[in-house]
Every structure is written in structure tokens, then in C-alpha cells.
């Protein structure tokens, strides 16, 4: 729906996104339009929605022209995280549970930077160097997500970056 404010007159140019078909009409004030501008999500479709690049400083610098996370509108993408510290050193060498806990702490920091929490996560993808690590990831994910149940896919991959990392995880969050 596009609307143009002509002084005190709010002219509805296309009505087709609402259910009744294309019926242009003019009303006299915003008050006449009532609360429907705010309440109808379709009316917000064309509002600007600048991207936010999420790079919490405690995660350290990122290699390449990337962000740790991006929020666009109500959706957030968190880049694959490994169990590393702010200097890029592996946390818990050879220990899948320690690495998984460290990387989910990083994911939590990116979510928080964009105003989200673990319960906003809708999709989790895990990339593991070996299937033996799955049990450890389940344990950590229960700690991280509690009763929340996002969609999930786990892959076994041939290698993981950086060297020494046993796994990475990425998530997508959608804010209500």
C-alpha cells in the first residue's frame, strides 16, 4: 500500500494489498485512518529497513569483508562461529564440548548485539569435522536454547576453519 500525505489529506493510492481490491479513496486526517497504519503490518512494507552490521568487539576482528552478523528488518543472520577467543585462538583444543560452548557464547553475543536472544533463533546449522562430536553439541545446545526448539541441520564436513576448530555453527533468528 502506498500512501501520500497531501497536507491534511491522506490519499491511499493502491488498495490492492489489502483484501478488497483496488479502491482508491481519500480520508481527511490520520486520526480518521485510525490505528490501522500501525496495526496492519502490510502498511509497513515499504518503510526503510537499513541493515545493521553486528560486530561485537569482544569477538575480535574478522578475516575478510564480513560481519559476525547482519540484521535486516526482523531477520538476523549470524556468521559461522568457531570456538575461538578474541585473539582468534582455539578455546578447548581437541575438546568438542568446550569448543561448542565457546562458539555458542559468541553466537549469543552476536544475537544480543542485534537485540535478539536464543529464543529468537529459527534455524541452526552445525558443520562438524566428525560425527563423534554430535552428543557434545546436543548437550551444549540444551544449555543454550533451554526449552526453545529451532529448526536444525547438522552436516559432517571435510574441514573447518580456523585450523584446530572441530566445528562451526551458524544461526538465523527472526524477531517477533
Amino acid at each position: 500500500m502506498r500512501a501520500v500525505d497531501n497536507a491534511r489529506n491522506l490519499t491511499i493510492l493502491d488498495y490492492d494489498l489489502l483484501s478488497a481490491g483496488p479502491v482508491p479513496w481519500t480520508i481527511t486526517t490520520y486520526a480518521d485512518f485510525g490505528l490501522s497504519i500501525g496495526q496492519n503490518s502490510k502498511s509497513r512494507r515499504n518503510e526503510p529497513m537499513p541493515k545493521q552490521f553486528l560486530n561485537p568487539p569482544q569477538l575480535g576482528a574478522l578475516d575478510g569483508p564480513y560481519s559476525q552478523g547482519v540484521r535486516a528488518g526482523n531477520t538476523m543472520w549470524v556468521s559461522a562461529q568457531a570456538g575461538i577467543d578474541a585473539a582468534g585462538r582455539i578455546v578447548g583444543a581437541g575438546d568438542p564440548e568446550a569448543q561448542c560452548r565457546a562458539l555458542f557464547q559468541r553466537i549469543g553475543a552476536v544475537l544480543a548485539a542485534g537485540g535478539a536472544t536464543p529464543s529468537d533463533v529459527v534455524m541452526v546449522r552445525g558443520f562438524l569435522k566428525h560425527r563423534d562430536y554430535i552428543q557434545a553439541t546436543w548437550k551444549v545446545r540444551r544449555e543454550f536454547f533451554g526449552a526453545h526448539r529451532p529448526a536444525s541441520t547438522t552436516f559432517m564436513v571435510s574441514d573447518v576453519e580456523p585450523a584446530g576448530a572441530l566445528m562451526t555453527f551458524e544461526v538465523v533468528a527472526a524477531l517477533d
Binding site: E47, M49, K51, P65, Y66, V70, A72, V78, V157, S158
Partner: protein
């Protein structure tokens, strides 16, 4: 909110069962793009830079059809067959994305669909307005 499907004429399709890009609302989702020339042959065998450049060139053709640019990209997933491809990918990505800083997930896999390809890249773009 009808979906739109994009298949640029200059981008090779190995099989006619998918689209190179789909737009729904503000979001454009691109298919995994392999480094293929016009007849489907892998370009630059063993050359990560040549392959990455071809991939981005073809991704751009699909973004163009959707009226999107690399500045609209919010998420990049790169499948590579060797982690040694990643430094080259990062270098070329810096040229491609300019000031944009999308989220990024590298996935190191034994192989990708196109035999001989070292890299395949998927993108998600979201229009600001």
C-alpha cells in the same frame, strides 16, 4: 506477494529444475553458483581466483535481474573443496562487496556438484526499502 523467479540468459543451468534466484517480498535468495562457462564447463581448472571471479560475475547477472546489487547482500555461504581457496575468496569478496559487510559461512566439503569446481556460492539479499 507473488514470488518472482530469475534465470539470466548468460548463466548456465545444468538442469532445468531450479531457478538461479527467487524474490519474495524484500528478500532475494540465490541458488548455489558454480564457476561454469556458457556451455557448462568449469572455468579456470585449479585456479581459485578465476573460479571465484566467474562465480561472482554470474551471481551479479542474477542480482541484476532482481534489481539487486552486492550492496543488498546480507548473507554469503561459500562451499569450497579446500580451505586454501578461502584467502582468495576473501580477497576478491573485498573488491566485490565494497563497504557492505554481509554475514559469511564457509563450508569445506569433499566436492561440489560441478566436477572440478573449487567453489560454489549462495547469497541472500534483502532490499532496504
Amino acid at each position: 506477494m507473488a514470488k518472482q523467479f530469475y534465470d539470466p540468459p548468460g548463466v548456465f543451468s545444468p538442469v532445468n529444475i531450479y531457478s538461479h534466484g527467487v524474490r519474495c517480498g524484500r528478500t532475494v535468495t540465490l541458488a548455489g553458483q558454480a564457476p561454469l562457462d556458457d556451455d557448462g564447463t568449469v572455468v579456470g581448472p585449479g585456479d581459485p581466483a578465476a573460479q571465484c571471479r566467474r562465480v561472482f560475475a554470474d551471481l551479479k547477472k542474477t542480482l541484476d535481474l532482481a534489481d539487486a546489487t552486492f550492496a543488498d547482500v546480507v548473507y554469503v555461504r561459500a562451499y569450497v573443496t579446500d580451505k586454501r581457496v578461502l584467502p582468495e575468496l576473501r580477497r576478491i569478496s573485498a573488491e566485490i562487496f565494497g563497504a557492505n559487510r554481509p554475514a559469511f559461512t564457509p563450508v569445506i566439503v569433499p566436492s561440489v556438484r560441478a566436477e572440478g569446481a573449487l567453489v560454489e556460492i549462495e547469497l541472500t539479499a534483502v532490499f532496504d526499502v
